[in-house]
């Protein structure tokens, strides 16, 4: 039935977050899982699904299936590791919803854990895996193309060249996120940020300054998905899922100088269609935004800004506190905390529940949340609301 919820999120939990080593990814995952179960009020025996996600920065078995035993779960009916890079966490939410709707599970615990910051490395070194833009193994490295920052910087350079945006726009997004973070007790960056300070900050890979890039952090987060009807009797206000979409395409689709519809746009459109609403119904966005350029691309993919117009929308202050379209209201990846796909979904849950405190958005009715992996290659999008029906 259109406009009716597909499922609901009924629990949310975090481990400690720190830029110092605070434990193994497995132990942090367990901590977040436990916190989510306690938050939900569910008994352990009621959890019958477990989905896991980790980043590529840590070893492949760092967040193992055996976390089922760690938590003390019995036999469960849904259990897997999910990976589509930055789209993974939204995909876990989607997979949980699909399973619940087909009666394969009743309560699915989804967890992401990462420890990119080691005791002997500075955090910038955390994401220096060799990139692969050319598509030929080993090709890019011979020219010194190293690290995720450069990939996104390539996209930003072209975008800005084509649409005539510049550092004022990038800086405006960094400041928008910082302004939200000032009101988020969990945010990592809580000092006010001026444009002069942004300009004075050092370049990493042009056009990106350090303030255009998320800082890695060690930590984990988890949420629990249940049937929408069952969620009404839970201890926390349910956060309903109304629409889901995915699309995966080639990396050059961020090049908005072409008129084609990007994979990100298809993913967002699919989720809005499933929810039975148009982009104009969206009241708040939680964007996967480890780099400032991500917000411009996402706002345009969502259909909230025409191609090339998102930078001025941000420069105008529309995405910050008091603006018409609150974006990344916890500070996002740049000023909040970088737990990949968990950051936007956790903030969406907090806002939908009314737990935003000083940063609570009154327009929390329809929250669009995305996850984006690779260089704009993998996209997953959901529509969340505190309302069980959007009709």
């Amino acid at each position: 039935m259109p406009n009716q919820a597909l499922s609901a999120i009924t629990g949310l939990g975090f481990s400690r977050l720190s830029r110092e080593p605070i434990g193994s990814p497995r132990s942090l995952a367990l901590s977040a899982m436990r916190a989510a179960v306690i938050d939900s009020g569910l008994g352990l025996s009621e959890i019958d699904g477990l989905l896991l996600n980790q980043s590529a920065q840590i070893s492949g078995d760092a967040v193992p299936l055996k976390l089922r035993q760690d938590l003390g779960l019995g036999d469960i009916r849904l259990h897997a590791s999910i990976d589509s890079k930055g789209a993974s966490v939204i995909q876990m939410l989607q997979m949980a919803t699909l399973a619940i709707r087909h009666g394969m599970a009743n309560a699915v615990l989804c967890v992401f854990s990462d420890t990119p910051v080691g005791s002997d490395s500075n955090s910038g070194a955390s994401y220096v895996n060799a990139s692969a833009l050319t598509g030929i193994e080993g090709w890019d490295q011979q020219y010194g193309l190293i690290g995720a920052v450069a990939n996104y910087a390539m996209a930003a350079q072209r975008y800005m060249s084509h649409y005539g945006s510049d550092e004022r726009h990038l800086g405006a997004y960094a400041i928008s996120c910082r302004n939200w973070a000032l009101h988020n007790p969990m945010a990592q960056q809580r000092e006010p940020l001026s444009f002069e300070q942004y300009l004075a900050s050092r370049f990493i890979v042009e056009p990106f300054r350090i303030l255009d890039c998320a800082l890695p952090i060690n930590g984990a987060a988890a949420f629990i998905v249940t049937d929408a009807v069952r969620a009404r009797t839970g201890v926390r206000p349910p956060v309903y899922i109304h629409g889901m979409g995915q699309c995966h395409g080639s990396t050059d689709q961020w090049a908005h100088d072409r008129e084609e519809i990007t994979a990100g746009a298809r993913s967002a459109s699919a989720s809005l269609q499933m929810a039975g609403i148009a982009p104009a119904a969206v009241t708040c966005c939680q964007i996967y935004d480890p780099f400032s350029i991500c917000a411009f691309v996402a706002l345009e993919d969502f259909g909230l800004c025409k191609k090339g117009e998102a930078p001025d929308f941000v420069l105008d202050g529309q995405t910050g506190p008091g603006g018409t379209m609150p974006v990344s209201t916890g500070g996002g990846h740049l000023s909040g905390y970088y737990l990949q796909g968990m950051t936007p979904i956790a903030e969406a849950i907090i806002q939908a529940r009314g737990d935003g405190g000083e940063r609570q958005v009154s327009a929390n009715d329809v929250i669009l949340v995305n996850g984006s992996g690779g260089l704009f290659e993998h996209h997953a999008t959901v529509v969340l609301s505190p309302r069980r029906s959007l009709a």
């Binding site: 050319t134 598509g135 030929i136 020219y143 190293i146 450069a150 390539m154 072209r158």
Partner: protein, 98 residues
């Protein structure tokens, strides 16, 4: 065809023919490294994303980039440096053609 592809879209053929490329290209995008990631590449240095006239895009470098400056869309010509690495050199244009 993009360079990551291994199977023909039309008939699923996996046999590849080599064809000479013209060497003509344009600068699709570029970045300038300011942070030292690897001792093998001293900052500042630029990395180019080049679009060949034939369509495929690849990562490379533009010779004398620091002197000539980089502009997205600038005309380039393929060359090889002393170590045999594929590089691109700027081509003087009197009028811009697509």
């Amino acid at each position: 065809m993009d360079l990551a592809q291994r199977v023909c879209r039309r008939d699923l053929n996996i046999e590849v023919d080599w064809r000479p490329a013209s060497g003509t290209a344009r600068l699709y995008s570029y970045v300038v490294y300011r942070r030292q990631y690897s001792p093998a590449f001293a900052v500042p240095y630029s990395v180019a994303w080049v679009e060949l006239k034939e369509g495929p895009r690849l990562i490379s470098t533009v010779a004398a980039a620091r002197e000539s400056g980089l502009t997205i869309g600038m005309a380039l010509r393929a060359d090889f440096d002393d170590s045999g690495r594929l590089i691109f050199t700027p081509v003087a244009e009197t009028s811009r053609t697509s």
